[in-house]
Amino acid sequence: MTTKIIELGAHQLALEEPMYFRVKLEGDRVADLDVLPGQVHRGMEHLVMRRNLYQNITLLERLCSLCSNSHPSTFCAAVEEVAGIAIPERAEYLRAVADEIKRIASHLFCCAVQANAIGETPLFRRIMEVREIMQRAKEAIYGNRMDLAANVIGGVRYDLTPEAAAYLAGAMEEMKRPLDELYLQFGNNPALMARMAWVGVLPREAAVECAVVGPVARACGIDYDVRKKSPYGAYDRLKFEVPSQTAGDVRARNLVRLAEARQSVSLIEQCLAQLPAGPLCADNLPEIPAGEAIAKSEAPRGELMYYLRTDGSDFPVRLKWRVPSYMNWDALKVMLKGEPVGNIPLIVNSIDPCIACTDR
């Protein structure tokens, strides 16, 4: 069998963002893989040390547009932990609303991109149209379709007026049927089954060894969700289950995502029903003492972790974060091994890789 090494770029990988892979092929099958990140490295962990804590709210929201709300909300949680601030209950719920809205849109985008990667153009367009319901809702409530600008240190800076809440409830109602349909389609449609089932398999043991997170882990039967394991914000008062699958293939990952998106609809509805009255923010300009803290959250792609160290000034001494995508690249080596070259774009997109997040 002939061995050869090929280099693939964003275009061949069907990615929206620049990324390179060096792939070792045996015949027409993948034998090994070297992931070459860095194209989107913007030195952000360096930049955050030269910006004050307030500036970092906006800067971090621009780490990645697909999980853009997870970053400021988790960062603010770390600052609040250092400062001993308990955010108002209403703010906890509003943060959850923002995070879950983003989760639905992000999961749908991932499923759409995969449909596109296997040439299912009508399905791609259909999912993108469904996602537009979320995009419209985001713009109506927050004023932007990607970056919500929802968080501040001590709480949130948006409110849901009764009209906005009613609008959002309507949008959630609108989402239910398409999400249920998509779940069935990704689960049972023969054409999709043929491309996605038993493809890009990550066995549970390998998943544990690679320490993958998020839907990628849950598709292998690892039912880890930060919202359950380390509750934060309003999640200790919301009812939800952690969807999981056991097959560990492309199909399983998408079923987890679609089930989660459907769950997010329910979470948002619960938030709207329980939304307590009260202030949006604890204290607009709190003292931030010297200290260190960890804050974690379940971003759309999985566990997100922030470490903040302060010295009493409003510039961080160190602000470090680890995004979920960072943990999942390595598992591609397992998923792609023995797969034909033609499956590479689909499998790569099935981990919902975010390069802006990874490179920072």
Partner: protein, 176 residues
């Protein structure tokens, strides 16, 4: 306090051969974070093995220059582990110059990139890393940019902002 904290204390004590203090904090939602400063750099490897034994997952590695790093001639690296929802942070204190740490990649496969990043951003040698190539930094960039926080003005191109603003302010004068 709980099984977890007792187990961690016992495992770390076993590994280090002496009592190691872990400070546990429980937040409003009941989530535990444990903070532990290791007595010396050599304690890292056995401690990490002990955490692996407890089925801990390496979550993140944070190298940093602490407050007054220059004066004290010290730097620190914090290793954060997940223990089924609780986070344990093991911090090693290293000399500012010629810092070396053992690689944890042989124990935790996912430490690979974290350590590659640590090596390119800071002046720290990771001993025994299987693949110590650069990861994110372009080859034209100087080594260890995070060592140059102070003074950063000479290093970063703050000039870009200034040049642009000069044009903004000049542009308006022309218009007027």
């Amino acid at each position: 306090m709980t099984d977890l904290t007792t187990n961690v204390a016992a495992a770390l004590a076993m590994a280090a051969g002496e009592e190691i203090n872990v400070l546990w904090r429980r937040d409003r939602k009941g989530v535990l974070t444990g903070w532990c400063r290791l007595p010396c750099g050599e304690a890292l490897l056995p401690a990490a093995r002990a955490v692996a034994e407890l089925e801990g997952r390496l979550a993140m590695v944070t190298p940093y220059l602490p407050e007054r790093a220059k004066e004290k001639g010290e730097r620190e690296i914090a290793y954060h582990f997940d223990l089924d929802g609780a986070t344990l942070t093991l911090t090693v204190v290293l000399p500012l110059e010629w810092a070396r740490v053992p690689s944890l990649t042989p124990i935790f496969r996912n430490c690979d990139w974290q350590e590659r990043e640590l090596m390119e951003l800071y002046d720290v040698q990771v001993v025994g890393h299987p693949d110590p190539r650069r990861l994110f930094l372009d080859h034209t960039l100087p080594h260890a940019p995070f060592e140059r926080l102070v003074p950063y003005s000479t290093f970063t191109n703050a000039a870009t902002g200034k040049a642009l603003w000069d044009k903004v302010l000049a542009g308006e004068r022309e218009d007027a």
